[in-house]
């Protein structure tokens, strides 16, 4: 890891932490129920990918791990809060929810729906990279429960069959669940692909492992399946661990660490202050563009009589749309 990368990681870790604290304190915002919160390892993993702002970098679906990976891919706290607060200024104009959204320029692809599906979608994106001979790869975080869905298997099978450059991270689930396959390495073997399990590994170790997986993927070596254990239990500790590692190893001084923390916090606080003042969405604008082939909304509000004899009707009360 370079010094820059370490600083970014620290910064994004503090950003995420401040975001989650702020949301909890806000009284009016809520994380979506299924979000597992910030596990700094998800930021580390995401940092091993190629980042860009012109749509030519790697692609990441943060899935249940957002906001970590999204921050690593350049999503801003302001965007998060707009999304959470359903502001008209939010990335999806408040139409869709969840903690991730799509911004293909920065390589972010959002999803708030059923598990398993994004492994299919990212497999197809990775296919496009391979087809064009680009040095790009796809990264998708999925709840471990995605393994229960047939959709996930179809996606992984497709990725494995075509050896596309994709890294699939399965995040261990805190909840009970049933019928779940925990033998991720055996699943990978069944599909003839690589597998890695991450548990108490150091951040530097995780970084090296994932960098390797990304390199192999981009060189045509095929998918890697990553089992990320313990994501829900020690989700905070891991960031502190990382910070103290960076200190101990001499990558940053106490003073530098504190100023990184403060800068991250200031940015997040600013975003909180800002979204309170922002307006909600305007229905006509937000919804107009996305309907295909829909007729006018309320046909009985038409002002002209439908009668052949041309008798005019009084204009109807009520909102007339379109």
């Amino acid at each position: 890891m370079s010094r820059d990368e370490i600083e970014d990681l620290l910064y994004q870790g503090y950003q995420g932490r401040r975001l989650e604290e702020g949301v909890r304190r806000s009284g009016f915002l809520q994380w979506p129920e299924h979000a597992v919160g910030i596990d700094t390892r998800s930021i580390v993993i995401s940092r091993t990918m190629k980042h860009a702002v012109d749509g030519r970098g790697d692609l990441c679906c943060p899935g249940p791990m957002s906001p970590g990976p999204a921050l690593a891919f350049g999503a801003t706290p302001l965007e998060f809060l707009r999304q959470l607060a359903h502001r008209g200024t939010s990335p999806a104009a408040a139409r869709a929810g969840g903690l991730s959204w799509t911004d293909l320029r920065r390589g972010l692809i959002g999803w708030d729906g059923p598990p398993g599906m994004m492994t299919q979608v990212l497999a197809g994106a990775a296919l496009a990279f391979a087809q064009r001979g680009e040095n790009r790869a796809a990264l998708v975080f999925e709840s471990e429960k995605a393994l229960d869905t047939g959709g996930w298997h179809e996606g992984l099978n497709f990725a494995a069959a075509r050896r596309v450059p994709i890294i699939v991270v399965l995040v261990a689930s805190g909840s009970a669940g049933v019928g779940r396959v925990r033998q991720i390495e055996e699943v990978a073997r069944a599909y003839g692909i690589k597998a890695v399990t991450i548990d108490q590994d150091s951040h530097a170790g995780i970084f090296a492992t994932l960098r390797g997986a990304r390199r192999r993927a981009a060189l045509g070596g095929g998918p890697t399946l990553v089992a990320l254990e313990g994501a829900t239990d020690d989700r905070w500790q891991s960031h502190e661990e990382f910070a103290s590692w960076a200190l101990t190893e001499g990558h940053v001084t106490e003073g530098e660490l504190e100023s990184i923390r403060r800068a991250a916090a200031a940015g997040v606080d600013h975003a909180f202050a800002r979204i309170v003042k922002e307006p909600g969405p305007e229905p006509h604008d937000a919804l107009a563009a996305v309907r295909i082939g829909s007729p006018p909304l309320r046909p009985w509000t038409r002002l002209k009589s439908p009668r052949p004899d041309g008798v005019a009707e009084a204009p109807m009360e009520g909102p007339s749309v379109n």
């Binding site: 708030d112 429960k145 959709g151 049933v178 509000t301 009520g318």
Partner: protein
């Protein structure tokens, strides 16, 4: 009934009004007590009691082999339910949100719906779960699913609007030999105004028969689910203009109770269809066809509809309220049609 029954299935027995959700729970509980072939499947319905706590306390009473926690694989466990039904059991499958019935679309339309047709015998199976908007659940936790299945011969679709109907129709669905999709609107689950005293004895409401929720002479509103309540509100407002509205609560969408609709339209001459589901391809179309086929001459105005707009269900409150049909929309349309 066992004495240790959870409180939400004992309202009727103790003479108290039940919510819509309690009515559902009572139906499940009573049917499981009545018939040992009835069993439940779904995500986290066991110890956790289900996302909406409908089955809280069930696993303690009926055991883990009749209250089965499933993996997230709606297609797979619906297929398994079909197999169990072939072997004489009567599965009731819970979709955590009915939106998640989509992965089971293939098995429901191609396998389950065609069983009788293919000579594989009747397939008694109920798929039930929460539907509908207004809860800020966004596109994946707010859908109405009837039109995904309405076009499939071999299925029945039930969508009750009151606790008594919910209980009586769910009991019928469980006893029915055909597969039944059973939709429960989240907005009714705990709505206080919906609470009602349910009949004490075994309360069964036949599938396939609509209910006249309000009698009137001037205008027929055909609707179902939460929109029955919105339509009754609108009817009350229209009554102030001396417009006497008849409100038909379909209760069962498939098979459609054509007779009741046709009889009402022949009486009033005006038909407004109100559904929460989106507009294009909604059930209004089939109703319009049936009325054309059997009551065209009686129509004194066009058949109109009030529906959600053609969009996924929006997340934000502002957008969702705009998206959903409102009482004011029904009143506006009702007034327009009555003056036609």
């Amino acid at each position: 009934m066992s004495t240790d029954a959870p409180v939400h299935v004992t309202r009727t027995r103790s003479g108290k009004p039940a919510t819509f959700l309690e009515a559902i729970a009572e139906a499940l509980w009573e049917e499981m007590e009545r018939d040992e072939r009835v069993f439940l499947m779904g995500e986290d319905i066991g110890a956790y009691g289900g996302a909406f706590k409908v089955t809280r306390g069930f696993i303690e009473r009926f055991g883990a082999s009749r209250v089965i926690d499933t993996p997230i694989s709606e297609g797979g466990f619906t297929g398994a339910a079909a197999g169990a039904a072939h072997m004489g059991l009567r599965p009731v499958v819970e979709m955590q949100f009915m939106d998640f019935i989509s992965p089971a679309y293939d098995v429901l339309t191609n396998y389950v719906a065609t069983s009788l047709y293919r000579g594989a015998g009747p397939l008694p199976l109920v798929v039930r779960g929460p539907v509908g908007g207004g809860n800020r659940g966004g596109p994946f936790h707010s859908q109405n699913v009837e039109m995904a299945f309405f076009h499939t011969p071999g299925l029945k679709i039930v969508y009750p609007s009151t606790p008594a109907d919910a209980k009586g129709l769910l009991k019928s669905a469980i006893r029915d030999d055909d597969p039944v999709i059973f939709e429960e609107h989240k907005g009714l689950y705990r709505a206080p105004h919906c609470r009602e005293l349910l009949p004490q004895q075994d309360h069964v409401v036949p599938i396939g028969r609509a209910r006249t929720a309000l009698e009137g002479e001037d205008l027929t509103i055909v609707t179902y689910g939460l929109m029955v309540h919105r339509s009754l509100e609108a009817a009350a407002e229209l009554a102030r203009d001396r417009i006497r509205v008849e409100v038909i609560d379909l209760r069962t969408l498939l098979p459609l109770d054509e007779e009741t609709i046709v009889a009402s339209v022949r009486k009033t001459g005006k038909l407004l269809i109100v559904h929460e589901d989106t507009r294009t391809g909604g059930i209004a179309g089939e109703i319009a066809m049936r009325v054309n086929e059997r009551a065209f001459e009686w129509l004194d105005g066009p058949i109109l509809r009030v529906t959600a707009i053609d969009s996924p269900v929006p997340f934000s409150g502002e957008l969702e309220d705009f998206f959903l049909p409102s009482v004011a929309d029904v009143v506006t349309a009702g007034r327009y049609l009555s003056r036609y």
